[in-house]
Symmetry: C2
């Protein structure tokens, strides 16, 4: 990178740098050669107290407003309450704040942005920008071309969500359960075993060898917080307030990569061949005309993947299988792409 | 059991007794005190050559028509081609044949029966009776009360299917992959790992740490054989030829227990409270008004379980989560229940 450009590179802050998404974010800034003038890393209660960036160790103390005020671009990849406490004042004082938490996503004054879908929602005077829920990101990217062409009016979605989406404690709990379950994974006199359902604390139920239809907490109507987020955020990102969405959010024993079985009901008829062409050209999407993606095979890579496009149950309905890495496009990558878009517009320097 | 009853107990044959479903079937005949006058066990190409029944070892040679002709009740829990080759002639010669394979399920002359749903399809002169696909069984049982009350006209179904449903080789492949993956299940410098996608042969892709949206083989329209079976068999069992069904069948790293995220569109409006009451009273079903079943917690038990009943995306639509043990209600148990129904009617002695 030319020296002149580097001199004007932004002072970058990362709140939650020691977390799983924070670690992915640091790696992405390196890999994508994002211009980082200086880096201020902050933990948020994690046991790790430093991170590595461009070959150097970098202390990661608890975040303070005073330290963050020296940054012109701040990524929040931490808990909702940390964003709620610190982000608005920093944005008010002129920093660009890209928040991966769910604290402000539905705030009408806060753009909720997936650059491939609605970069147009960015405005120079709205400096607090939210990135979306990791589960709906894949659908928002994969389905947007269909929505633009034929208007999606109903969505049904069953998710297969990776454990890393629930955070580090959940992932460690999964690893521990998987290790303990291992001895039970053998035939018993020719019969399939019945592995033991172990106690869980980070997740609502044991996840090794299981699937759990609870992500977050349930409301009185029986919807989980994850299911509500997906519906509300999809309506906002697609600017489709009348969209009807029903989600069954399910945790599965996968390390990383959220998968979705989706049914999209379109207002205008779209032949599967025309839909396939739209998907093949959709930005940020890798579409399988034959075959299909799986989370294990695509983990650690940037795109959203889709396949198994076919007619659904009713006229004008399409079924689609979607996979994306929840820590990358579902979180860290989308945040970096928002920052890259700000740079492209020269709103950030 | 009184001696008189035992004397008239049927001569029972089991083709595929050494397989995983066969082993469950033997255990169920014991546990449910099914009257077995004599037992003739047959393998079908499995490496095991004997089984145990009521404390005794019992040879399990390859099946022959001559040996099977001595049985008055024959369970087929083996491959389609074995049923196709042997079952029709045995039924023609007067034996009751309960076939768990998919060979004859859609044959209009063959009753396809889940006793809680359509025992009425049994007829004394139709001695070849088929049991249904393990994936649709849970839905057929859980949704039937709703169908009777308000007529289901559309079904969307995303499945979370256990590896044991693909047979013993698939299960052993899963166990092997899980053992090899174990060393990779740890954080890498704070980052979530990207486990390796290992080679697969019994299943289309590696299944440990993965979800795979392929069960069976795809047709030209992009539907898998499992998805076609679920749709066609549900229409037959519910006597609902016009039912529109869209399925995404997905294999998950669970040992036993198929789970389903289902959306049912009803012709007549049914309030969720009324639907809950129907489900609470449905035969063969254990309904969770609060909470939900998971496959790990319910594996090895007989009922179909359902929970998370709530409104779906459109008017008159309900969403439901369903779990059942694919080796029990999805296979061996249903076959035994059919035989018990024949006994109850005194069609079999």
């Amino acid at each position: 990178m030319p020296r002149a450009e580097r001199r004007s590179a932004p002072a970058v802050g990362i709140v939650g740098a020691t977390g799983m998404v924070g670690q992915e974010l640091l790696a992405l800034l390196e890999r994508r050669r994002f211009p980082v003038g200086s880096l201020a890393a902050f933990s948020s209660g994690s046991f790790r107290k430093s991170v590595r960036f461009r070959g150097r160790a970098c202390a990661a103390p608890a975040p303070t407003t005073a330290a963050l005020r020296r940054c012109s671009l701040i990524f929040f990849v931490s808990a909702d309450e940390v964003s709620r406490r610190l982000a608005p004042a920093l944005a008010d004082s002129g920093a660009w704040v890209i928040d991966d938490s769910s604290a402000f996503r539905l705030d009408p004054k806060v753009p909720l942005v997936i650059p491939e879908v609605n970069a147009s929602a960015l405005r120079p005077d709205r400096r607090l920008v939210a990135g979306p829920n990791c589960t709906m990101t894949g659908l928002a990217v994969a389905g947007f071309a269909l929505h633009e062409a034929a208007e999606v009016r109903e969505v049904r979605l069953a998710s297969y969500q990776a454990v890393s989406g629930a955070g580090r404690a959940a992932l460690l709990e999964f690893f521990d359960q998987a290790a303990r379950q291992r001895a039970e994974l053998r035939l018993r006199g020719g019969k399939a075993p019945v592995p033991r359902a172990r106690k869980a604390s980070a997740l609502p139920r044991a996840i090794a060898g299981n699937v759990v239809p609870q992500v977050g907490s349930f409301d009185d109507a029986g919807e989980s917080s994850e299911e509500r987020k997906v519906a509300a955020e999809l309506r906002k990102i697609w600017s489709a307030p009348g969209l009807r969405v029903s989600v069954t959010a399910v945790r599965v024993p996968v390390v990383r990569g959220h998968s979705l079985a989706a049914w999209l009901t379109l207002r205008r008829r779209l032949a599967p061949a025309a839909a396939a062409k739209l998907l093949a050209n959709a930005p940020g999407l890798r579409f399988f005309r034959d075959g299909y993606p799986t989370p294990l095979e695509t983990a650690g890579s940037d795109p959203v993947y889709a396949g198994r496009l076919r007619p659904g149950a009713a006229a004008g309905e399409l079924a689609l299988w979607i996979v994306s890495d929840n820590l990358l496009k579902g979180a860290a990558l989308n945040s970096v792409q928002i920052a890259e878009e700000l740079l492209r517009r020269r709103w950030l320097s």
